[in-house]
Amino acid sequence: MAKTLFEKIWDAHVVQAADAESPATLYIDLHLVHEVTSPQAFTMLRERGLTVRRPSQTLATMDHSTPTTPRGADGIIPVTDEIARKQLNQLIQNCSDFGVPLYNLGTENQGIVHVIGPEQGYTQPGMTIVCGDSHTSTHGAFGALAFGIGTSEVGHVLATQCLLQQKPQTAEIRIDGTLRAGVTAKDIILAIIAKIGVGGGTGYVLEYTGSAIRALSMEERMTICNMSIEGGARAGLIAPDEITFAWLKDRPHTPKGEAWDAAVAYWRTLPSDEGASYDLQVVLNADELAPMITYGTNPGMGIPVTGNVPAPSDLADDSQRMALDKALNYMGLQPNQPLIGQKVDVVFLGSCTNSRISDLRAAAKLLDGKKVADGLRMLVVPGSQQVKRQAEAEGLDQIFRAAGAEWREAGCSMCIAMNGDQLQPGQYAVSTSNRNFEGRQGKGGRTFLASPLTAAATAINGHIVDVREIL
């Protein structure tokens, strides 16, 4: 029977099949761990006298509560928040006690968990990957079944390397056509979420297909899969192909020599079979897409940057009308107003969605020789120490600094605002991150989600612009 990519990976990881009474038990190939969602899981292991079953299939890093402020003269990144310091120290202790490898703050491979997994070649096609973090969907760009889990499940995987899972449904998100200049992978995923809504993918694994997806680089594919969760889907998938293999080859932890050849031969069997069926299909045309931006307080509230903010009075559904009214009130926006020209206080370039080297290059190209607008603050936060070094080797940091932007250490930074980087109440930000929920980037802060290109163009102008007009 013809199988989807999802079904092939699922079937290859079933330890005990589901029956009428119980979910399936799935084997997990790679478990990524960070400081925020793991402490209570390690505590549970201690309380029950358990060990980590497979430390060699577990990797920890620090990213969420870590400061991204520049290093001191001693080369150390200062942690001034005592509660955060305690949490970071707890991770060091837990990893030491249980034998879990850790990329400690400021060390050469440390970074955002969803940046370093692929970067180091741990993330590979056909794998099951979990992390106590909803943006684990990022790794689906490689054709890995990757999804976020809660802290109880972190404990399950630490102890058994397995998870109990109800089998999700599958949806094909097909995007054919060719992106126009100035339109990016971020705009594709924002358009998808605007179409299906923040709950539209609930219960589904999304597989992105079509010629527009096949044309994307790995980093662009990661941006798309990253935000699958913002449409409610736990996981996104893109079939591995030559672009995937080329990107992975010779990474530190990918197979080498004959083992590489064997791995690639297996990976070539993974794409969905001809005639495989999905429970749902959604179709978009890349030719018709424009740069996207959000106007509201969830990632589904997105419009083309040249569009107008919708009006609550146009909505027939009471619940939707109330939600839009609440969102516009929080955002301080008027129905039917354009977003072009909207003044912005902060531009944030970073997060597991858009902090990779290609994102920084794209923004630097626009900022080269230009200045960030007077009074606007721009933070550039590389996704990992490796991305930071690469950017510095290419002189991108100099471009950002010369433009008046802040060049930071690697971490989640202002995407999650639990590390000192945050908006002030009432401030507007264009952010390349993934969530525009109320207060997400700081209590009272107001977020417009957009691509690195739109973010850079906005930084130069001080207000929201259509990046296509300056390309």
Partner: protein, 196 residues
Amino acid sequence: MQPINTFQAKAVALPIENIDTDQIIPARYLKVTDKNGLGEALFTDWRGEPDFVLNQPYAQGAGVLIAGHNFGCGSSREHAPWALQGFGFQAVISTYFADIFKGNALKNGLLPIVVDAATLARLTEQCLANQTIDVSVDLANQQVHVAGETISFPIDAFSKHCLLHGVDQLGYIQAQEAAIQAYETSHAARVNTVGV
């Protein structure tokens, strides 16, 4: 986990759709290393508004939250159900729940009760008109008794069994040790993170 079967509680309504985990508990409260005290931070930014439902005297002691569509979207933070339970909630009623939130809630004994849109609208209206309504939940029969009517709700068989009997899901997986070992014997590990 303590078994759950039947319970009675006062319900309050928070009729907002797509309530995300950043509203349930903002990230700045996630720097803790235990589960204690999170109830105080539940909906903390909304509780800054005097009119917010959980600030009202009648909401104190509430055990059921009647929410809008799609409750719990956003992050994987298990702090969200911990915070709801810390405040005293035993169940949330909505038309559907975000997948990760739902899984987290069930593992902690916080019951996600799914009802259709018309039922949710009716319950919300009754609750808003009376400030609170008394709800009786019967998990074994998958029923909610409220305002003279009986509403059935779905729940997967395994989660129901675990909640009714206080079954620990980790213990259930550990009992499959032979199958896990067999899998590991027949499938070489795909990564080795040790020694990095």
